[in-house]
């Protein structure tokens, strides 16, 4: 038995989209976590409603690694169409649970794998003849039983996981449990285990954690951050963010007596309209958001520029998928960073928040509303499909303390005590003017918001000096933002001059890569950027290192490009770009391999 066969392997389930395998996969995942073992599930699904191949990987990692593993050890093969490809991807020494009728007669089987043939279809037919459409779902639950028995997961744990999945609906739990037992019985009566993969209960590593998707956490952040107007146009992988928001609002934002709601959600006709609703609402004083993905922010560009220049708050969640264009709608990428940062024509810079974890998806969602109002500007939260749609183990989210930061808003009383005010005057020298909200009952409250040139008093102007002064003030605002956005997270040892710089979900691969590199004798420091504009800590960190590997999930090295633009010239030569962009989440080896190669043979760079 290989040394790391216990609590350290990956199961891949290969099924067909629309077969209802998701419930089974989640039950299996939840059950393993209930044994105290860290798991990281990744749903690898096609852009399709029904019929195409889909995969679900459950990474089991005693050390708690949350990123994707490049290879898998245990395969549950239930899709004949992908049988060859699926078996081909199993690591040598792995195990294959498969529908008995595959492989086809005459197929040569890899000899380095263990095979468990189970007549899933026949078993489902035999036991659930009367269940009609339910039968295919129950068939999937049979494999949960088979895998549980092979990995030695207690049946009671599976039952607890089923209760979670079916929200304690007794009938559903009992019916599904009967399917699980069929799988267990089949293994006990017909199969002999001859592979090394097992789970063993452990403790301490994931105590107190729960499963949550990033989109759900972000939706909670919107609720707790006081979002009252949401406008959206459905698009994968962001749709569930607004759907969760609606769900929570249906539950917590309705007056039980009157039925009145303290929220408005509009499904807009397109993304530009969604952005228009957000900035209209932000202008009138509401905390407003929209959630979308790359094709959506493309359409929102016009209003994003308006929001920046007319200085109107609004929050835009971009749950990134693979682009350009329609791209790979159900695959992940960090491809929108450069575009979102400067979204608009002309000179534009936006605040961009870069969550890496579920907790950050929640915290940054709340922070986004504060920052948007404080800086009177659009704020982007750039998540990705991996964070947004996959369930992650996370500590419980913290109940927020304190109040909303509504920024510099003048009320009627403030205006009464002032001699004069101008909407775009830089009174505090931080680039941020004072604003009034429509509805403020004072004759001096009103001003004219426009995307055309304007002076300090919000009057139309095309004067060269006025225009330049305004753009300079907006830049001053960006400078102020550098120290107000979430600062980078730095993990540093003095003994090394080599470092990694990353952001977003790439983080999880960096964590594993650093451990691997340490074992291989290469100590690497790490800075994780959590927002744009870049805080000053980033340049300071790069200054302390000779070599900084900028790791990200896009082809062109978008953060690398931003660093090259914004850093002092003498630091640029220290940067080396590592990119991953095949649509699946980055794994540790996508960092380790190029980094080690470069360490052995450093590229010649012009300083």
């Amino acid at each position: 038995m290989p040394a790391r066969a216990v609590n350290d392997f990956t199961i891949r389930v290969a099924t067909v989209n629309g077969s209802g395998s998701q419930s089974s996969n989640l039950v299996l995942t939840n059950a393993i976590a209930r044994l105290g073992i860290p798991v990281a599930p990744k749903n690898v699904f096609p852009s399709n409603i029904e019929g195409l191949p889909t995969w679900f990987d459950v990474r089991i990692s005693a050390l708690g690694y949350q990123c994707r593993a490049r290879h898998f050890d245990v395969l549950v093969a239930l899709n004949a169409a992908t049988w060859q490809q699926d078996v081909g991807g199993v690591k040598s020494g792995g195990a294959v649970v498969h529908e008995e009728v595959f492989p086809c007669k005459g197929d040569t089987l890899r000899e380095d794998l263990s095979y468990y043939a189970v007549p899933f279809t026949a078993l489902a037919k035999e036991h659930f003849a009367d269940k009609g459409d339910l039968r295919k779902y129950l068939m999937n639950m049979i494999y949960v039983g088979v895998v549980a028995q092979l990995l030695e997961i207690p049946l009671s744990t599976i039952e607890e996981a089923l209760r979670t999945q079916f929200r304690s609906k007794a009938a559903a739990v009992e019916l599904n449990m009967s399917a699980v037992r069929i799988g267990v019985d089949y293994v006990q009566q017909n199969l002999e285990k001859h592979d090394p993969w097992r789970v063993v209960p452990m403790s301490g590593k994931i105590d107190g954690l729960l499963f949550m998707e990033g989109n759900r956490a972000a939706a909670l952040g919107c609720v707790m951050g006081g979002c009252t107007v949401a406008a959206w146009y459905p698009i994968t992988p962001s749709s569930s963010l607004c759907e969760y928001f609606i769900q929570y609002c249906d539950r917590y934002r309705v007056d039980p007596q009157t039925g009145n709601r303290s929220v408005a959600v509009v499904q807009a006709e397109d993304e530009l309209a969604a952005a228009g609703i957000v900035f209209g609402a932000g202008w009138a004083g509401a905390r407003a958001m929209t959630s979308t993905s790359g094709p959506g922010i493309s359409l929102m560009a016009e209003y994003a520029g308006y929001g920046y220049f007319a200085e109107v708050p609004g929050v835009i969640f971009d749950v990134q998928r693979a682009g350009p264009s329609t791209g790979l709608p159900t695959r992940t990428m960090q491809g929108d960073l450069a575009f979102a940062y400067t979204l608009s024509h002309g000179d534009t810079k936006h605040i961009v928040l870069l969550p890496a974890t579920v907790a950050e998806a929640y915290e940054f969602a709340m922070a986004a509303f504060d920052l948007a109002e404080r800086f009177q500007t659009p704020v982007f939260v750039l998540s990705d499909l991996d964070l947004g749609m996959n369930p992650w183990l996370t500590p419980p989210l913290q109940y927020p303390e304190g109040s909303f930061d509504r920024g510099k808003v003048l009320g009627a009383d403030d205006l009464a005590s002032m001699k004069s005010w101008g909407r775009y005057r830089d009174v505090d020298k931080d680039g941020i003017g004072y604003r009034t909200l429509p509805g403020t009952n004072h004759p001096a409250a009103g001003f004219f918001t426009r995307g055309t040139g304007h002076d300090e008093e919000a009057r139309y102007s095309e004067m060269p000096d006025v225009w330049e002064r305004n753009l300079d003030r907006l830049n001053r605002k960006t400078e102020t933002a550098r120290t107000a956005v979430p600062p980078p997270v730095v993990s540093e040892k003095k003994s090394t001059k080599v470092a990694i710089l990353a952001y977003g979900t790439t983080h999880h691969a960096v964590v594993e890569a650093r451990d691997f590199l340490r074992d291989a004798g290469v100590e690497v420091n790490y800075l994780r950027v959590r927002a744009l504009p870049l805080p000053p800590e980033v340049a300071a960190f790069i200054k302390r290192h000779d070599r900084v590997y900028v790791v990200e999930q896009n082809r062109d090295g978008q953060l690398y490009g931003i660093l090259r633009t914004e850093l002092p010239t003498y630091l640029i030569g220290r940067l080396q770009s590592i990119r991953h962009y095949n649509g699946v989440p980055i794994d540790a080896h996508a960092i380790i391999d190029p980094l080690l190669a470069e360490q052995r043979e450093p590229a010649v760079v012009a300083e």
């Binding site: 976590a33 209930r34 209760r163 979670t164 929200r167 304690s168 107190g208 954690l209 729960l210 499963f211 949550m212 759900r216 909670l220 006081g226 009252t228 107007v229 929570y248 917590y252 309705v254 009145n260 709601r261 303290s262 929220v263 408005a264 959600v265 509009v266 807009a268 006709e269 309209a273 969604a274 228009g276 609703i277 957000v278 209209g280 609402a281 202008w283 009138a284 004083g285 509401a286 016009e302 308006y306 419980p396 989210l397 109940y399 109040s403 909303f404 009034t436 429509p438 509805g439 009952n441 004072h442 004759p443 001096a444 409250a445 009103g446 001003f447 004219f448 918001t449 426009r450 995307g451």
Partner: protein
């Protein structure tokens, strides 16, 4: 009402704005003047007025009235979405959108349709001159088939009738008027302010610079010649007794949502503005004849507006605090239980 002060005690001066920068004689300036009169007489509170517009000659208009009010000069054709957002944020605002025919019927057609579909409570004025003035006279989508540009080029494409379209989309208040007809326009504007829902006012407003020649169907001469007035209107504010004298049978009284009335003095046709298909037929037939039928074309005072359909609280959403909006601690803790259902 004291002399020269309106019902909320404000002088007409308060309803004025900056001097216009549009061409002398522009129909839009006449509309602005009628609007000032309507707002003043209606007694709109300046601080509650949200003046919204897109881009184009028409969209400059909000600068020229009620200087104290908040203005939002947004993006070309995308004002309806911003107006929707503003109304959702603060339902106490009187939202007044001013748009043009390029703004509404071309680049903004989608947003126009969906604002109507949602019945956002606002008054939406289309200052319709059939051409793009700011970019020097290109046809807009409301130009009539066969009408010509200044240089003589004829339009070969079918016209988009913003009123017919609005009714087809389920609009609850649709009127057409002429910038030169204050007598009809002012009461229609006031009725629009009273209406709870999207009130569309298509106002033919000749462009004196690019579209006021022989061959144009939006020139002063043409519109004056072909304006078929369905009725003249009187507006009676809510709570006031209707004392105007009229002959039964010649006046149609439409009661609006806030108790106000619009009285339609019929001329030569027997027109029922609550009959949707007759409204559509009237618009269609007048277009076939090359005429502009003006007046309150269609009204339905029984539909809920967007805020009502969304069951929104009465208090403006913009003013709600942490206490109201956050999930309670007990529910929160329940939600955060490890590995259990959420």
């Amino acid at each position: 009402m004291t002399a020269n002060l309106n019902i909320i005690g404000l002088a007409r001066e308060v309803y004025k704005g900056l001097p216009t920068t549009l061409c002398a004689g522009c129909g839009h300036n006449s509309i602005t003047n009628h609007l000032i009169k309507a707002l003043y007489e209606y007694g709109v509170e300046p601080h509650k007025l949200a003046k919204m517009s897109g881009i184009g000659c028409s969209s400059k208009t909000p600068a020229y009235f009620v200087e104290q009010a908040h203005g939002f000069n947004g993006l070309h054709g995308r004002m309806p979405s911003a107006a929707t957002g503003a109304k959702l944020a603060n339902r106490e605002l009187v939202v007044l959108g001013i748009s043009g025919d390029g703004d509404t019927a071309s680049i903004g057609l989608g947003q126009y349709c969906h604002m109507i579909r949602r019945n956002v409570d606002c008054t939406y004025i289309v200052e319709n001159n059939g051409c793009y003035g700011l970019t020097k006279g290109q046809f807009s989508a409301t130009a009539d088939v066969g009408s010509t540009q200044k240089g003589g080029k004829a339009n070969e494409y079918s016209t988009i009738d913003v009123c017919g379209l609005a009714i087809e989309l389920g609009a609850t208040f649709v009127a057409r008027s002429f910038s030169g007809d204050g007598k009809q326009l002012v009461p229609l504007l006031q009725a629009a302010f009273s209406h709870r829902g999207t009130a569309i006012l298509d106002v033919i407003s000749p462009c004196v610079t690019f579209n006021d020649h022989v061959g144009s169907t939006k020139s002063y001469a043409y519109v004056k010649e072909h304006d078929i007035v369905l009725h003249t209107a009187d507006y009676i504010a809510g709570g006031r007794e209707i004392t105007v004298d009229y002959e039964p049978g010649t006046v149609r009284d439409v009661e609006l949502e806030d108790g106000a009335h619009v009285l339609l003095r019929k001329l030569d046709v027997d027109y029922d503005p609550t009959d949707e298909s007759s409204a559509l037929r009237t618009i269609h037939e007048s277009r076939e004849r090359g005429e502009f039928v003006t007046g309150l074309l269609y009204v339905d005072t029984h539909q809920q507006d967007l805020c009502a359909r969304e069951h929104m609280v009465k208090q403006p959403l913009a003013t709600l605090d942490e206490e109201t909006l956050r999930i309670g601690r007990e529910d929160w803790d329940k939600m955060m239980r490890p590995l259990t259902e959420t």
